[in-house]
Amino acid sequence: MKAMIVDDERLARKELASLLAKHHEVEIVGEATNADEAEKLYHELRPDLLFLDVNMPGRDGFQLLEALDPAPHVIFVTAYDEHALHAFKVNALDYVMKPVEPARLEAALNKVPRITEAGTPQRDMLHADDQIFLRDGEKCWFCTLKDVRYFQSEGNYIRVFFNDQKPMVLRSLNTLEKRLDPLVFFRTSRKHIINLQWVEKIEPWFNGGLMVKLKGGEQVEVSRRQSARFKELLSL
């Protein structure tokens, strides 16, 4: 398993590396001192696992994760941060506290799913089984794409509807659309991208458009322009 350590303090990185030394299944392929460095290195090295400090100069750990799609497996490493701890506890993100207890680190490592020898494939397309990291205020989620019913554009933000949550996150619907698997996700209009696996019923709507009913009860309109493509896609 390829791992990367992201922490602005050299000694903190060294300490974690020495704790990881006895875990032979973990290979540290890279270290980064800030989010920008980490983002670059991540695309180069494609690690399976990230050890991520929350407090860093520049973008913090959460902001880094928002920029990484699909989200890697992450173990947060933090000293003591009430805001971060709150986010972890609410959404069961995995974390270890500095100074790191070896037993706690082992428990966190055991929760990381075993990855095939081939490692994470190099790809830009986001699959339904991939996770994305979402943050809205103090709350954070790792959200599996197949759980998302639809995305809705709200100004510079998009609202993500999954499970019983609907956080609003700073992302662009256009950028997201380019990365999503077109067999699963469909841009119904300027405002929405829906997950086809959640479609329950389709009804004709005004002006030659369509109205899609999703499992879960929500309705999303398909614009006239997209309706033809939509029909074509479904008839396949």
Binding site: D8, E9, R10, L11, A12, K14, E15, S18, T33, N34, N55, P57, G58, A79, Y80, D81, H83, M97, K98, P99, V100, G137, E138
Partner: protein, 351 residues
Amino acid sequence: MTGTQRKQVAYWSAQLSGWGVWVGVVMLYNYLNGTFTLGLVKTLLTILLLGIAVSHLLRWYMHQRNWLDLPLGKVLVRLLISAAILGGLSFSMHAFINDVFFLDLKPMLSADGREVFTLVQNWTILFVLWSFGYFAYHWFVAHRREELRNLRLESAMRESELSMLRNQMNPHFIFNAMNSIRALIDEDPVTAKRAITQLSAILRSSLLTGRKKSVPLSEELAVVRDYLALEHIRFEERLNVEWNIDPATEQVNVPPMMLQTLAENAVKHGIAKLTKGGTLRISAERGEGIVLLTVANSGLLDHPTHNGNSTGIGLRNTRKRLELLYGNRAELTMHDGNGMVTTQVSIPLDQ
């Protein structure tokens, strides 16, 4: 029910039950002595109604004149005089009612001087007793309110004291320092050992802060030096410290952990946010009747962000401390320019 309504209810129940009990006791006394007559009932009912009416009038007058706010001596004189006047008034009304309506009873208007004096005296005593009850109740309530206010004040003070202590022991700093030291044990055991001593010194002075009002600046500087040495282990070349301490300030008394709080703020909101790190400048100089402590760090002034409300707590507490200790003779200012954020505290020397 509003406060005024509650007061009205309390007043009327006390008023009615007070007079009622008094009439009841007199009746019972006469009954036990075998002197209970219909005439007595008539007289007592008259007294009951007159007593309630006249004492109510007295209450109204006292409120008009704000007697409740007067010192005890003045109230006492006024009460005795008005009780006597009202005693006379009540006697006259009682006598009038008695002679007009109760022809079967002994006439009162034509009673002899001694008898009249006794009756006026009895009325007066009743009003004096009534007033005592009234004032005792009011003083009791006011006293209790005062006590409650003091308790609230005390708990508010304790709370702010606690939050100040919490603020002084920044857990984020402590755990990060511990983590660095752990890594340092393999790399550089000598520095690691020194770091543990430095951390102990900081924890000790942080715990003692609550008990001391002021310490010599030299002592405070030792704490800040230990603190920055530890942060230097953590930030390494990213933290560069410059000192400029006028020796004449070293024996000046300053509030403990105040310069420390400023240094911590400068690291937390300044240096730690800079990828390349920066410089921290600490200086102490004497001005006219004051000592001027300055902490400057690379960076820009924090702009309040949507999720960061912790930014101002350290400074706010420091301001509050300064005000409690020195009133308006101390000052804390903050400004930025030339890529540095400068925080300055001026403390009066006369301590």
